[in-house]
Symmetry: D2
Amino acid sequence: MRKLRMGMVGGGTGSFMGGVHRKASAMDGMIELVCGAFSSTLEKSRETGKSLYLPEDRCYGSFEEMIRSEKQLPEGERMDFVTIVTPNHLHFEPAKIALENGFHVVCDKPMTLTVEEAETLEKLVKETGLLFALTHNYTGNAMVKQARKMVENGELGDIRKIHVQYLQGWMAAELSEQAAIKPWRADPSKSGVGGSLADIGTHADNLVSYITGTRITEIAADLGRIGEGRVLDNDGNILFRMQNGAKGTMSISQIAVGEENDLSIRVYGSKGSVQWNQEDSTRLYVKWVDKPEQTLTPDGNAIYDDVRAVSRIPKGHPEGYLEAFATIYRSFAEHLMSVLDGHPVRQPDYPSVHDGVQGVRFIHAAVKSDAENSAWVNL
Amino acid sequence: MRKLRMGMVGGGTGSFMGGVHRKASAMDGMIELVCGAFSSTLEKSRETGKSLYLPEDRCYGSFEEMIRSEKQLPEGERMDFVTIVTPNHLHFEPAKIALENGFHVVCDKPMTLTVEEAETLEKLVKETGLLFALTHNYTGNAMVKQARKMVENGELGDIRKIHVQYLQGWMAAELSEQAAIKPWRADPSKSGVGGSLADIGTHADNLVSYITGTRITEIAADLGRIGEGRVLDNDGNILFRMQNGAKGTMSISQIAVGEENDLSIRVYGSKGSVQWNQEDSTRLYVKWVDKPEQTLTPDGNAIYDDVRAVSRIPKGHPEGYLEAFATIYRSFAEHLMSVLDGHPVRQPDYPSVHDGVQGVRFIHAAVKSDAENSAWVNL
Amino acid sequence: MRKLRMGMVGGGTGSFMGGVHRKASAMDGMIELVCGAFSSTLEKSRETGKSLYLPEDRCYGSFEEMIRSEKQLPEGERMDFVTIVTPNHLHFEPAKIALENGFHVVCDKPMTLTVEEAETLEKLVKETGLLFALTHNYTGNAMVKQARKMVENGELGDIRKIHVQYLQGWMAAELSEQAAIKPWRADPSKSGVGGSLADIGTHADNLVSYITGTRITEIAADLGRIGEGRVLDNDGNILFRMQNGAKGTMSISQIAVGEENDLSIRVYGSKGSVQWNQEDSTRLYVKWVDKPEQTLTPDGNAIYDDVRAVSRIPKGHPEGYLEAFATIYRSFAEHLMSVLDGHPVRQPDYPSVHDGVQGVRFIHAAVKSDAENSAWVNL
Amino acid sequence: MRKLRMGMVGGGTGSFMGGVHRKASAMDGMIELVCGAFSSTLEKSRETGKSLYLPEDRCYGSFEEMIRSEKQLPEGERMDFVTIVTPNHLHFEPAKIALENGFHVVCDKPMTLTVEEAETLEKLVKETGLLFALTHNYTGNAMVKQARKMVENGELGDIRKIHVQYLQGWMAAELSEQAAIKPWRADPSKSGVGGSLADIGTHADNLVSYITGTRITEIAADLGRIGEGRVLDNDGNILFRMQNGAKGTMSISQIAVGEENDLSIRVYGSKGSVQWNQEDSTRLYVKWVDKPEQTLTPDGNAIYDDVRAVSRIPKGHPEGYLEAFATIYRSFAEHLMSVLDGHPVRQPDYPSVHDGVQGVRFIHAAVKSDAENSAWVNL
């Protein structure tokens, strides 16, 4: 085998997510960045490429050009897959064209602006048989996978109650200034109908599904648009009901002053419960009906073997955001290598195009419920 | 001055709350227990009294008898106030009779079963001018008072978002067995229309009001009655809206496996936020738009003087549940002493009969909303 | 039976420890304060007594007078025991005279200034058969008792390594000002040869013995006297060796800026280890060779029955410093009641006069080692 | 510029450190692995190389061969520097030969077995002017750098007291089995005179120096060799004194049951103190004489600009062990690029050959002190 060749859409100067995807994909030595349409002009794209030690002729001025040009390169040179790290409104088109031209896709979330677009991509993936990964990176954490396994194996009994929150404060400080910093996130034409719903709410929804193995089917939402001139939500309080009968609360916010990136979840079953907090990502707190509270760690005692294998380093050495992100890329790369090798395995554990459809449905249901004074709306 | 003389209604053998009230009221050396109607029979009441080193003739077989008999004792002997520590359905009658006979009252929460009863007591307190304290004990914590002060003084800016949770797990384990342990809590005729709503939800509601200085005006509730044969709620997910425009989520449960007594609150303003957790009661976590996160402690730096005065011990020595409870009694005792001294001060900082009315309204609004598929209901 | 009658030596206006002992002894309703020699003048002593609602004729101008006068009172009135809450140099005399006159004793630590005095008291206790409790209050914590039990029952295997620290910062700030606040603690004629060694080091030594069931036999100390004009140590770094072969480090300080009352211990055995921190007193962290880390709580799962009985309140309600202190008084009171009842039981679990001797030896050994450039010195 | 070309010594199958260095050096896209002498046979070395997608002819059977062969390659192909990730006894030779042949060096710690070897390398680095980095990776943590800056800028006042501990438990469980796992660590001919001293003690020593900006000058050590047949220490209790007059305790262990990788430090100054724990690496706890305790985070408020620049991701996203390691590589790479560019800058912030000398001195002083019953020994 050889390293996989990746082309990037987005990630030019000033982009935070571009750097994250590059570091995460490089970490395990399985993927090399070979080309990119980093910015909307050829000049800027080349500038970024230069800082990444890329040859000039693999830096493109648009994703259309990149896909067209790479397709014509010989097989031993051509990129294997596209990774899409642009703002929300620029996910659908490049993903669609890449799939239509035979390239596998890694895509940031939320997958698309509309449910229709999301369903189109899902259909395309099915038709082409190409691989598609959505970077719900938090599910790459070892302790999240441990929680999922514990639910799956019935350790916690029947799941009854969930609380999830995703709280940030960066929009609180200076509601006008922040608009300057991340303008597209406050602009419905680029973000879609959801603000914090799209940016962080979809992660919360996905985390609930991932750990419990079931899905939110109904939500009642009370959203907030705090600050002068806000069009999109930057705060939300949500009740939800799950397919299996469990109920829960979700609190999301980008005006929760002082919070950095507090994605936390508690899942209560009939026998035990788990608590995980992204800011303390290498610990899983487990409570039991009849045993003392336990603190599980990625390479510690009582960890499932396939969860243990997720960690890159031994006991007590913290792994963080980039490693979780890298785990998504590694799973995708292992899958893709198996496909290229001619011995494809079943999709391993990374978020799918179907997770992307669920996320977009979640956003639209929440917006609808809020417009109807928090009436229950089905996903 | 002299020590105040207290008579107790309830608190016989097997009662948990009786012991708590006795220890809390004794701690500061301002109150002595002089009599009690501890149980529903004279014999049992005397048995309890004996274990407390009380004379036999001050142990009564009913609260009616206690109030009648004590009233006839000479002023220098007679109890000054009644403390009511019975199950919910036995709060209203003794409180009413005590007030009608000139005795001040300390009463456990929820104050009454119905809103009408609650309003009756409020009216009686106004008419008689007697003192009435409701033991929402958690507001006796120094760090809760610090949080309240910080909001009051505008340190946090405008309050925008709140999350409160009160999670216990004791009902989860053995849903049938627990009925045997605390039977009256599962019985609507003794608990009222609310289960966990009454037992712990009212504390959550009161804590929100106490810290923010404003009140919940509207709630949307999705309750759970988990376990065979459950009539009353033992779980609840609630959205709420505050008088000042803030919004929030409330999660309460008695089936949250492994949780002991997790009453936690987060209050987000435009400038700062506070987080407090009852199980870690001597720390207040404060986050700011433009300063590092701070951890405040009862006798530490940057504490308001009147909050500092709440603590009985210096830096770094934990105070707990009994001390917070004792602080309610101490405030009440200081108030009552000022009244008996003839120089009454304004009501100091302890929960009032009006807080009791709000609590009962909260229970009934939640039950109504739940019955209407989580429609918003005014308090 | 009846409540026990306590007389107090020390605890006048401005005394912190007097209030602590009064609250702790009152909490469980088994002890009533009946008299006191609170200050060095009759006038001041009466002033304190008045604020405590005591009759004037039970307030004395000296401990000698109190012991003499109380001895002549009829049995039904006379105090049962003396509690000594004075500065260090005033422990020995009142304890000695009380024992010589037939009164049981509760005494603050360190027990005496010199080893000879300590041994004199130990001898007196043996000869008279009277009860003697030393208020090493931290051993009154439920989780400390749980740790002791776990070691005793071999759950942790052979004890190999210990780290204990007792860190405070109050002396750091203003080394001159603090002298004004607690002058006797900086004065060798009142404190003895040890400063922080006596005040907090003895607690650390006692905690190690209490939990491990064995004793420190050898220490190597490097003390610090930080601040102009300091005569006594206010900082210490200590190596120690235990009777069973275990080794450890001890760090004590009163100039550890920002620390409030950080008494923490870690005990490592061959099978498991425990960690306890006074500022988080209701949790015991237990780590194992082959199981996940556990967090034990006073009324939680896997707690020994007699440890569970120590708690006054159920799961999740924090108990603190006063409760731990009260537990020492409660054990002493139960013991004394059994004696007065004529059915004396064996000494239950409270610190003894022998613990007092060990503490004074510890102080003197540390001072000697420090004077010899940290040479090992036997206790 | 171009990516730097790295050759690796060690890191073959079964090596933990090889993978760590590879991931850490790849993360920032500045370094590519081009060759390696991964194992002691050509066959095994090639096997490892293949799994890393390296060409066969750049996989060597010995470090001597690698250095010789690479030296003869054209400048545009030849490796720029060597990274040494072998067991302790195989650090000196490859480092020496690499330097003698004009290659820059990155080397694992402890630098060498003897002080003489360490001094030889230091001399060689001075003479050749080549770059040398020692991977004391923990100093790559942003919060460690923040602590250092705070001391440097006098924020904490005069440094008075330090406690450092590095506790692991992996050797406790199965003292015989572990020998099989990491045999060279228990073998003096490969580890040198120190066991845990070399493996983890040197990190503790280095961390103290790095944060305080001064050095340990004197130590008194009491070591433990726990388990049958142990020759090297696996536990140590140490007193130390610093150049600036500060004093401290150090506790190190590999038999501290249940500890994973607990490297923690507390530094107390006259105005403030800092606490850092590797297992919670993205928080720095700061306590003050006159302000509330603060919790600092890598991209949070009140962070120095050049510390903030260390982080690769924004607020609240944890970074871990690999990122800290990568920061050492990134600093080294930036330095080396500046040298290759012909505009060399002064050595930026990464551990130097001189730190390596200090580490080896520390090991030998501790062993000597222990042999002399914990007498003070100068470094």
